[in-house]
Symmetry: C2
DNA sequence: GTCTATAAGATGATAGAC
DNA sequence: GTCTATCATCTTATAGAC
């Protein structure tokens, strides 16, 4: 105990912090698989091998636990991507290519998916579910995700300036739908292709996603391909 | 009663069929907004202004009710799209353009969204949620959606032949993620753009979506833009 | 076909002992 | 920090009266 006072080393006692982490990891996994309403606090506690009351003690309500799970990796993820985006713009003296902006935005997905920590893959599934049910953790979207998306859109304006404002938003919208679904690994493609393509082969998907969307963005933002009606 | 025997006209008595329909419409709306686990059978019955026991009587379990709601419009929707796809191929003597195939695949979304029946917009939201939680009604995906998607992919092969098989599947995957999210109208874009873009303005989105994806497909399937790694 | 009543069990949350 | 016990409520589903 005198030792602990002198040197407050973490994990001297495996309890409190470890418990929090175990609950958070269990919540991440189960919420990712079954969504907010598809999981009970008791199930999360059981998965974490922890008393049910501890979930409430450490995180408050079930809503707060969900937000905590979504937020846990959001900080790190957004910071990395923001750094990549800033570097990409600086490296190109303020006029990056569309492809380089897309790489900066998406490469952290691939890196984490391949990192060996399976928690990231769960978190991407969680993100996909939250993306079509934003009412589950609106403040996380508002405070953590949206500001970074706005920076991405500003970077697209540097890469392909002069298009009507709405086009940047719609193109981003298409892009995000595809990106989030890809890293959610729903397995649908595996069945559609009779096993010829695997959802889990994210490296192959990524290598196609980047040029696919670079070209889509380029054709719309440059005006090379006009909108169908000829309108906005 | 003698009349009813002679001429078994539908809706002579507004009860049975009307009740089924009311339950189905309420289920469609509530499941679309909150997902399978986010809604109780009692809430659906209350929304339909019907006794809770009738949901079980008419549809069986809650799972079956969800599947019925997803299936209800799927038949009509897929039949229309299949007809459009077949016509598009026939009109072009077997070599349609990529854009015309994309239009055949997507235009029924826009038509129904603008049809005045708000049930279709709910159903598109339901589809988006089911798309990231396919475990809620796997048989509907397997039996109704997947066969039609395979026909779409065959049509893409007619329009842009000769690419490695996996590219058709990945490109379809990107496309479907964007399409389904667009017609889910999550409202995210409205906030991101500070109201400059509205999720509900589906006509504008559609007019950009078609050329955006025509170009993405074209560039990848033709090999004009190679995959990042230079690989498959 | 509709509705009442109820079975049989799970749920989120907390108060209070340790 | 942890765990036991429990509250008040809600859940899906069905049996049986009308």
């Amino acid at each position: 105990m005198a030792e602990a006072v002198q040197k407050p080393k973490r994990a001297a006692r495996p309890s409190a912090d470890a418990t929090r982490t175990r609950i958070l990891e269990a919540a991440e996994k189960l919420f990712a698989d079954r969504g907010f309403h598809g999981v009970t606090v008791r199930e999360i506690a059981r998965e974490a091998d922890v008393d049910p009351a501890l979930a409430n003690y450490h995180f408050g309500s079930k809503e707060q636990l969900f937000s905590s799970a979504l937020l846990a990796r959001a900080e790190e993820f957004m910071a990395e991507r923001e750094a990549a985006l800033t570097a990409c713009i600086a490296d190109a003296d303020g006029t990056p290519t569309l492809e380089s902006v897309i790489v900066a935005y998406t490469h952290p997905y691939l890196e984490h998916a391949q990192s060996g920590d399976p928690g990231w893959r769960s978190w991407f599934k969680l993100l996909a579910k939250a993306n079509t049910s934003p009412e589950w953790a609106p403040e996380v979207f508002r405070d953590r995700f949206d500001p970074f998306v706005r920076k991405f859109i500003e970077a697209m304006k540097l890469a392909a300036p002069g298009a009507p404002d709405e086009r940047y938003y719609w193109c981003y919208h298409f892009f995000s739908g595809a990106l989030v679904l890809t890293f959610a690994e729903t397995g649908r493609m595996d069945r559609l292709s009779d096993g010829k393509c695997r959802s889990g082969d994210l490296a192959s998907g990524y290598d196609l996603l980047v040029p696919f969307f670079a070209e889509g963005f380029e054709s719309i933002l440059s005006g090379r391909r006009p909108p169908l009606g000829g309108g906005a």
